[in-house]
């Protein structure tokens, strides 16, 4: 079974078509890069897949559940890390983990065991009892990632997870994504850092609400006779008519 399977998915806001008949699928355990310029419709598409937004038309299944009827079942099987830090700033790292673990139905015992493990694995021992508000951006993103994968979802949606952090922090972040993928978690990542696309198994490139290219980084480079995914993106993005809003 595919982790994500989408056909002709569309979202219109009034006369504006934010997402225009996109079709793609993601395999279980895959790291899927969802690329596109700002305003191309990546976040809108992702919000539909997470059950935060109702689609206008098209079909979609996430973790085997329908994105119209079974949004609550989908939510049980996914993790979500938003572009903006959206954990509780007035709770500590450990308290955030505990809260979301509890919301996803983990028992206290399970939470305690796993929380120690995750904190050690991500090197967050010193930050464990600090309020989230006092953490630097790079650490906040680590904590967000830890929370979004804490309940071992089948799929984790990461919306611009590395926005605004330095290359070293980005590198360690991708190592975390790989470790999650090793545990069998499918990662659906949006980014506009083209070098990060090379870390993905497959990528799609979105322009003006449509998916213009889809394949492994190597396939795309040979198809567009480009040296890097960045060059592929450049040649596609030049066709864009939509002005960044």
């Amino acid at each position: 079974m595919k982790a994500i399977d989408v056909k002709e998915l569309t979202k219109r806001f009034g006369s504006f078509t934010a997402v225009d008949r996109i079709t793609f699928d993601v395999d279980q355990g895959e790291i899927f890069g969802f690329l596109g310029a700002n305003g191309a419709g990546k976040t809108t598409a992702m919000r539909m897949l997470c059950g935060l937004l109702n689609p206008t038309s098209g079909q979609g299944k996430v973790a085997g559940f329908d994105i119209y009827r079974d949004t609550e079942k989908i939510k049980r099987n996914i993790g979500y890390m938003s572009q903006k830090f959206s954990l509780y700033e007035d709770l500590t790292t450990a308290e955030n983990l505990e809260l979301f673990g509890g919301i996803y139905g983990m028992s206290r015992k399970e939470i305690n065991e796993k929380s120690g493990k995750v904190i050690a694995e991500l090197g967050l021992q010193t930050e464990k009892d600090m309020l989230a508000a006092s953490l630097p951006l790079g650490i906040k993103q680590k904590v967000s990632f830890a929370v979004s994968t804490f309940h071992t979802p089948r799929i984790v949606f990461l919306d611009e997870p590395t926005g605004g952090v330095d290359p070293i922090a980005r590198r360690t972040f991708w190592e975390m994504i790989y470790r999650a993928a090793d545990r069998g978690i499918t990662a659906f990542v949006t980014t506009h850092y083209m070098d990060e696309a090379e870390y993905c198994n497959r990528v799609s490139i979105m322009v003006d609400g449509r998916i213009e290219a889809l394949g492994s980084p190597a396939q795309l480079k040979s198809k567009y006779k480009a040296a890097s995914i960045g060059d592929v993106f450049q040649s596609l993005a030049r066709q864009a008519k939509r002005v960044e809003s």
Partner: protein, 366 residues
């Protein structure tokens, strides 16, 4: 439902760590109960009185003295002519002019009717009306004093204004202020708390989890129900401590009704939070409704004095029932059976407000 425990822990941790919220919760009942009953009193003291005495006799002097020593008036001006006195009203120095005609004493002694003239600055209608009633009563008293001193009079005059001479307004206002307090906690704080989560984005993180919406909403409301009842307890303690006021009825009835009221009003707050996108928006919506609710609650002006259509509007005002109930328990000692009609009505509000709140709360947007 297991998640509820985690949510409650989180909510209390946040309230304790939010210094502003904590201070607000502590300061609100104390300040409201210490300051408001005195400010929201209808009793008028220190009404500025200007006297024009055209008689300058012993009798007129005694009348003036009686008015000045009543405690209600401050003799600000002792004018020669009425025109002079009127000027002090125009300059807002006097609220009331008492003009005593010439031959006042003489006419009284020969049993001729005498007329006193009073002019009132009615800019503050309440003050004017009460000032008039006070001075009328003083004159009436004085009248009966002198008639009993030998001046023959076939009828003994009863004071016809018995309005608000020694009545303690605090006894009346303090229970009303408890209503405002519980309303603010149940409706306003909970609504603002939820909208705050929308604003900072944590709401989205919650909406992407499988948590049922009623569990999340319960996690939000239970802390405010608890805080509301704790503050009510604090308010009743302060009322006893400062005003020596304790309910003539049972405390338990106050708690029963207050809890139902909190359920109803927090549902209302939830509805507001579902429609507001920012804390400011929520605040303005709450102010809009709160002012209407308070003015139509009978807290300051009796519902029976309102025109019929306004009385009809008050049927849809939960505050009205709470004000009625808490006053009747505090002052009349009403029992559970006496407040049963209001209990049933507030239960309707609980059902309607909360149903609408759960329907209008959406985890998925269109």
């Amino acid at each position: 439902m297991k998640a509820l425990g985690f949510l409650l822990k989180k909510e209390f941790l946040q309230i304790i760590r939010n210094k502003f919220m904590l201070r607000l919760i502590i300061a609100m009942p104390v300040l409201q109960l210490i300051i408001l009953p005195w400010a929201a009193t209808f009793e008028q003291r220190n009404i500025s009185l200007s006297v024009v005495d055209n008689d300058k006799s012993t009798v007129s002097g005694r009348l003036i003295e009686k008015a000045a020593s009543s405690g209600y008036f401050r003799l600000t001006d002792y004018a020669d002519t009425y025109t002079h006195a009127l000027r002090s009203i125009e300059q807002n120095e006097a609220d009331l002019i008492l003009e005593i005609p010439g031959n006042f004493e003489k006419n009284l002694i020969i049993n001729q009717p005498v007329k006193l003239m009073m002019s009132i600055n009615a800019v503050n209608g309440q003050k004017a009306g009460l000032g008039l009633s006070y001075i009328t009563q003083i004159v009436t008293d004085y009248n009966s004093e002198i008639t009993s001193q030998g001046v023959q009079s076939p009828i003994s005059i009863e004071p016809y204004y018995r309005f608000n001479t020694k009545m303690r307004y605090q006894d009346y206002m303090v229970p009303g202020i408890m209503v405002i307090l519980v309303t603010l906690i149940g409706g306003m704080l909970s609504a603002i708390n939820i909208v705050r989560e929308k604003e900072i984005g944590t709401m989205e993180q919650i909406n992407v989890t499988p948590i049922p919406k009623y569990v999340f909403l319960l996690g939000k409301l239970i802390p405010f129900w608890i805080i509301g009842l704790c503050l009510l307890t604090a308010a009743m303690f302060i009322a006893w401590l400062i005003y020596g006021l304790s309910p003539a009825g049972h405390y338990i009835n106050i708690y029963i009704f207050s809890f139902l009221y909190l359920l109803a009003f927090s549902g209302f707050g939830l509805m507001i939070s579902n429609f507001a996108r920012s804390q400011q928006q929520a605040m303005f919506m709450i102010f809009f409704f709160l002012i209407i609710f308070i003015l139509l609650s009978g807290m300051f002006t009796p519902v029976s004095n309102m025109p019929h259509w306004a009385q009809v509007v008050t049927w849809f005002n939960p505050l009205r029932y709470f004000v009625e109930v808490i006053r009747s328990i505090y002052l009349k000692g009403s029992g559970l059976m006496d407040i049963l009609p209001q209990i049933l009505k507030i239960t309707v509000f609980v059902v309607v407000f909360n149903t609408l709140a759960v329907i209008s709360y959406r985890k998925t947007n269109g």
